[in-house]
């Protein structure tokens, strides 16, 4: 296994009396696609939110490239190259697609003066290439809010790529997408992983998708880590099957 890019160790998070994550440890290997599955309410999104700094964690540590990030805020973590997409697709609805793309460039080294800079032609070119990559080039001048849900999801994905992340945390990338288009999306995710070298950590409910894509899968249930391993192992793990179907 290659080097761990994200190291989550013994992370716990409660909301009032509800223990959303309890003592969870996992690693996301560099250059790979790692999956995270679990029944509804098992704490997947909470774990995502903890990693990207959306809320403080109660205990444990989260390291990115060996650096502790659990005490950083959302923006600083994003600028390190750890970018997430949302379960409820979020784009800038009143701006057009190209503007959505351009404002999504990496802000890692943005100085105060850059606030008033114009975009160099290379940025515009890259924005158009990525829109082409997700098949939205023809709609680049349309207001993003007027796109269909599936197209907005693709736009959000393209925006994330525009940000040149080291690792991409995708929260249910295929949810709400027409089944016939899912294959196209899987293909694009894999190409982004392979061609752009972006490590991915994916929450997904669609078993066909995640079993095909991920090399290593973690399964959560009731806020605890239930199982971990390659797809074949997870598929045959009795505790995972029980968690999904209910065991008595």
């Amino acid at each position: 296994m290659s080097e761990a890019l994200i190291e989550v160790s013994r992370v716990s998070k409660s909301f009032g009396g509800v223990v959303a994550n309890h003592d969870i440890s996992l690693t996301v290997a560099e250059g790979r696609i790692t999956g995270l599955i679990g029944p509804n309410g098992s704490g997947k999104t909470t774990l995502f939110n903890s990693i990207v700094g959306y809320h403080p964690i109660d205990a444990g540590s989260i390291k990115f490239e060996g650096r502790e990030i659990s005490d950083l805020n959302v923006q600083k973590i994003a600028r390190l190259g750890l970018v997430r997409t949302f379960q409820q697709t979020r784009i800038y609805a009143k701006m057009n697609c190209l503007e959505n793309m351009r404002i999504s460039i990496a802000h890692r080294n943005a100085a105060w003066g850059d606030m008033f800079a114009k975009y160099p032609p290379a940025v515009v070119e890259r924005a158009e290439q990525l829109l082409e990559f997700v098949g939205l080039y023809a709609k680049r001048n349309l207001v993003a809010g007027s796109l269909s849900f599936g197209q907005q999801k693709l736009l959000e994905f393209a925006m994330a790529l525009m940000n040149e992340p080291k690792v991409l945390l995708l929260d249910e990338p295929t949810a709400g997408i027409n089944p016939t288009l899912i294959n196209g999306l899987i293909d694009r995710l894999q190409r982004a992983n392979r061609d752009f070298g972006i490590t991915m950590f994916i929450v997904e409910h669609n078993m066909r998708v995640i079993m095909n894509m991920a090399e290593h899968i973690y399964c959560l249930a009731h806020g605890e880590l239930l199982a971990a391993g390659p797809p074949e192992k997870i598929q045959n793990d009795k505790s995972v099957i029980d968690a999904y179907l209910g065991a008595h």
């Binding site: 990207v52 959302v74 923006q75 600083k76 994003a78 600028r79 970018v83 997430r84 949302f86 979020r90 784009i91 800038y92 609805a93 009143k94 701006m95 057009n96 503007e99 351009r102 404002i103 999504s104 990496a106 802000h107 890692r108 943005a110 105060w112 850059d114 606030m115 008033f116 800079a117 114009k118 975009y119 082409e132 997700v134 098949g135 939205l136 080039y137 023809a138 709609k139 680049r140 001048n141 349309l142 207001v143 269909s148 849900f149 599936g150 197209q151 693709l154 925006m159 940000n163 027409n178 288009l181 196209g184």
Partner: protein, 349 residues
Amino acid sequence: MTKNSLILHCAILVSGIVAPLLFPGLVFQFAMLWIMILFALTWDVLGGQMGYNSLGNILFFGFGMYICAITQIGMFYDVGKYTAAFGAIKVDFTDQQYYLGLALGLVFAALASVVVAAVLSWVLFGLRGPYFAIGTLGAALAAAELTGSWNYVGGGGGISMPVFPGEPGARSLFFYSLCMLLTIVCYLFLRWLYQTRFGMALNAIRDDEDKAEAMGLHTNRYKMMAWSISAFFLGIVGGLFGNMTGFIEPMEVAYPTLTFGIFMVAMTLLGGKGTLWGPIIGAVLFHVLKEVTWTYLLGWQYVALGLLIIVNVVYFQQGIMGWMQEKWPERFGLVVDRAPGGAAPEDAQ
């Protein structure tokens, strides 16, 4: 710049120069029109482009006014003694003293307003939506009360401003020119600003601030800078307005939260927030309407304006420019544009 837009800009510039010469009696009104446009333009930076509805922008207007006045007087006299006399001692400023004081006063007004905006943004940008609106309103009201209870600057009694060294006609034209110049500079600056990364960042914050944060945008930086830009222009125009009226006091002149403070919001909404020309169109329409109702519907003027605001907010939220964008989207560049190769949007659902 297209030919039509060039003609439009020239026409506005020419009428701006000719109008006060043709109607010398209305010069103060014309100056007010430029100030109103500036109010709407600067309010729209936060309210329209960034989606933060501030009800307290008038704070910078009043603050700039007082800083300018204190500078103008304080450079040559003791401010405490000057204000304690409530204008009873007529102090003469030489021409040179007057212009130097005014120039430096306007500079300090701008800088001090920027500093106040930067400090306030630390506190107030923690609030969002209606809370931000109420928070800023509170700040403006507090500023008025604080100024009113500070005797050094005249308290509620106000300050008589230094008298302009020249004919009344020349005085009107002098301040008219400065108001016009300032508003044009502000327009050109914002026009440029909205083309840069800054404009897009403000729009991103408006559309989804959490998303912008998740993408690593320096949102606090942009918010602080946006408010500082508003404050810069409002501070200067405050200083100018104080000198135009000749007498300043906290409640009605410097911090008129219920008139100018609300007008800047109403004008922008009428013209269409979030656009460059919306605030300008809105300000002109609103100011003309206001003057007409003041002349022909005396006693009912606030009823008429109130009705206008209610109809605007309930039935016409997008404003004039927003309505035009909905009606002719292709004129604003909102089109499906196929790639030269003809790649169709394959994922259309």
